[in-house]
């Protein structure tokens, strides 16, 4: 079976398992909170994955995630809250409007060679400020009063509100992650990697740099906006300050850097770890310090594991599995606290810390074991290329 079919089957399996979670939760009488926690995680998985298509793959550092997300939130809020559109009809508009906005920005900034590097990053940051000001000033959008989204009817076949939110978030985040995977495993993806490494050289080898960068930015904005549109329901009461703040762009950066920006799985892993840990810190009443703890974790990891934890976990998969399940078994056995999410949080922290062992030390440890019983040969991106489509 080839690698692509195997990966797509993996997606299907994850979709089925996660898709049945609300039913399992009901059957086992688990708290509804688990469903909410899961869809919050999935929201961040989608945001980080879409951001990574532009910044991780093409190398254009963007603070624009909040802008695309915000356009999505407001597209749905205005259409549903002010014009009475059905929610499901407004949802695609969220993605489309954000995508178009992304392409418009791209048409300007990608035409001017001067606007690369940090200037590009600052431009994307400025877009969010401009949009926030527009939304605040224009009564047709917000006008400073906010928009109520509570009680918006959802299609009945999706079940109650929480289940419906969960299922829609699941579908959108699967679509986003799958898009990231398909891009990475294609000419487009390799063209983007070439642009990230040296845009001028890529250009000289025939990579259509302008078109590819537009595609990456368009895809980033589209998926961010789509998920933003859905999130307007989660917010309930939509205000400019809640939507256009630094939270979304900052968190997607943290998550992707932690997980790794060179592989589509990096942002997924990073988003899961950070949402889990920050959720636990918040519920432990440490909301104020949670940002500090996560920030410190990020600095350490950015210095010690430059390629991100995901690629290391893949290289050291035996250790990863052993530490993760070992820690999980320990905390469950000794019942350190009652919450399943806390157990996972401890296991994730333990696994992440295990990845801190530097590569050099790791190789020596592996050699001392006689090269056997280790984690098998390191899998590199070259293997992805070698095995692709075979």
């Amino acid at each position: 079976m080839n690698r692509r079919r195997r990966t797509l089957l993996g997606f299907a399996a994850v979709a089925v398992i996660l898709g049945f979670f609300p039913a399992v939760q009901e059957a086992l009488d688990l708290p509804t909170f688990y469903v909410i926690f899961l869809f919050t995680t999935l929201f961040w998985v989608a945001q980080a994955s879409s951001w990574n298509i532009l910044t991780g793959f093409a190398g254009y550092f963007s603070f624009g995630q909040g802008a695309w997300y915000g356009i999505g939130v407001y597209a749905v809020s205005v259409l549903v809250g002010k014009h009475g559109w059905p929610f499901m009809a407004a949802l695609p508009m969220a993605g489309l409007l954000a995508g178009v906005a992304g392409l418009l920005l791209g048409m300007v900034v990608f035409r001017l060679r001067r606007l690369s590097g940090e200037i590009f990053a600052l431009t994307t940051l400025a877009i969010a400020f401009v949009l926030a000001a527009l939304a605040r000033l224009l009564p047709a959008i917000d006008g400073g009063t906010g928009i109520f989204m509570t009680g918006t009817p959802l299609p009945e076949f999706l079940g109650d509100f929480t289940t419906a939110m969960y299922l829609l978030t699941l579908v959108f985040s699967l679509l986003t992650v799958m898009a990231a995977y398909l891009i990475q495993d294609s000419r487009l993806g390799w063209g983007l990697f070439a642009i990230r490494d040296d845009e001028q050289v890529a250009d000289g080898l025939g990579v259509p740099v302008f078109r590819y960068k537009m595609t990456a930015l368009g895809a980033n904005a589209f998926f961010a906006g789509l998920m933003g549109g859905l999130w307007s329901l989660r917010l309930g009461f939509v205000t400019v300050d809640d939507v256009f703040n630094i939270r979304v762009p900052l968190f997607v950066i943290l998550m992707s850097v932690l997980g790794g920006m060179r592989h589509w799985m990096g942002p997924v892993v990073g988003a899961v770890i950070i949402t889990t840990i920050s959720d636990r810190l918040n519920s432990a009443g440490l909301a104020d310090v949670s940002q500090i703890i996560i920030g410190a974790l990020l600095v350490i990891l950015a210095l010690a594991v430059r390629e991100g934890v995901y690629l290391r976990m893949r290289d050291r998969w035996v250790t990863t599995a052993a530490v993760f399940f070992g820690a999980l078994a320990l905390v469950t056995l000794f019942d350190i606290n009652g919450s399943l999410i806390s157990d996972f949080a401890y296991a994730m922290v333990a696994t992440t810390l295990a990845m801190l062992v530097p590569s050099g030390v790791w190789e020596r440890m592996r050699a001392n074991r006689g090269g056997t019983g280790g984690d098998g040969p390191p899998e590199t991106l070259a293997d992805d290329l070698t095995e692709a489509n075979t």
Binding site: G206, L381, A382
Partner: protein, 243 residues
């Protein structure tokens, strides 16, 4: 028959005139040596020909197509490839991946799967098979130069612009490279080589064009060009003739 036709091309950077009305041609199937003292405009010319700089005036035709104002990726798609004087590999990729990316784009579109096959061929051709899957930072200068060459070849060009591939190599590496350039030529690729190692230029070139201060001062057969007083003056100054 001429493959590349350069007509009255000029390029200025602020007040500095880098190219001052260059007119020259590259014939199909030949190896043309482009020489000249430092700062004579050789690299600028390569940059204009490959689409990195737009010339301020003049015209460039390649295979009967006007490529004067085309962006670099379209020039590459028409069949012009180049190497860089200081190697510029994609440094998050292995040599194999570098070559595969180049093959996927270049003159013809190819899928990821086809690129895998082709990469092996160019790795072998340039003798990089042993380091195909190592990190870029483990390659020697010599290997990086060959990777530049392999990556350019993988675009399947009709015209290859080589910007000082021999600079910084030791004599035995130079011999190896000269032999490699001859094998590239034997595959039917037209070559324009910019080079300072005169021994190699004389051995390889069918024709030589000499640039000085952004102008073509002499062109012709290697021996005849090297004996030309204008060339000696350009390299050594007026006193060179007395010595």
């Amino acid at each position: 028959m001429s493959l590349l036709e350069v007509t009255d091309v000029a390029k200025r950077f602020g007040g500095v005139v880098a190219l001052d009305g260059v007119t020259m041609r590259v014939d199909e199937g030949e190896i043309l040596g482009l020489v000249g003292p430092n700062g004579s405009g050789k690299s600028t010319l390569i940059n204009v020909l490959s689409g990195f700089y737009a010339g301020d005036q003049g015209r460039v035709d390649f295979a009967d197509t006007d490529v004067t104002s085309l962006p670099a990726n379209q020039v590459a798609a028409l069949g012009i490839a180049r190497t860089y004087q200081i190697p510029r590999p994609f440094d998050t990729m292995t040599p194999r991946e570098n070559i595969a990316v180049s093959y996927m784009f270049g003159q013809h579109r190819h899928s990821l799967a086809e690129a895998r096959e082709a990469a092996g061929e160019w790795l072998e051709f340039t003798g990089l098979g042993d380091v195909a899957d190592t990190g870029i930072n483990e390659l020697t200068l010599h290997q990086l130069k060959f990777l530049e060459l392999a990556r350019a070849l993988a675009t399947q060009p009709s015209l290859l612009l080589l910007d000082e591939v021999l600079a910084g190599l030791n004599p035995s590496e130079i011999n190896q490279s000269v032999e490699m350039i001859q094998r590239v030529h034997a595959r039917g690729i037209t070559l324009l080589i910019v080079e300072h190692v005169m021994r190699a230029v004389m051995a390889l070139s069918h024709r030589i064009v000499v640039l000085d201060q952004g102008k073509v001062i002499v062109e012709g057969e290697p021996e005849q060009v090297m004996a030309d007083p204008a060339v000696i003056r350009a390299y050594l100054g007026d006193r060179g003739l007395d010595a």
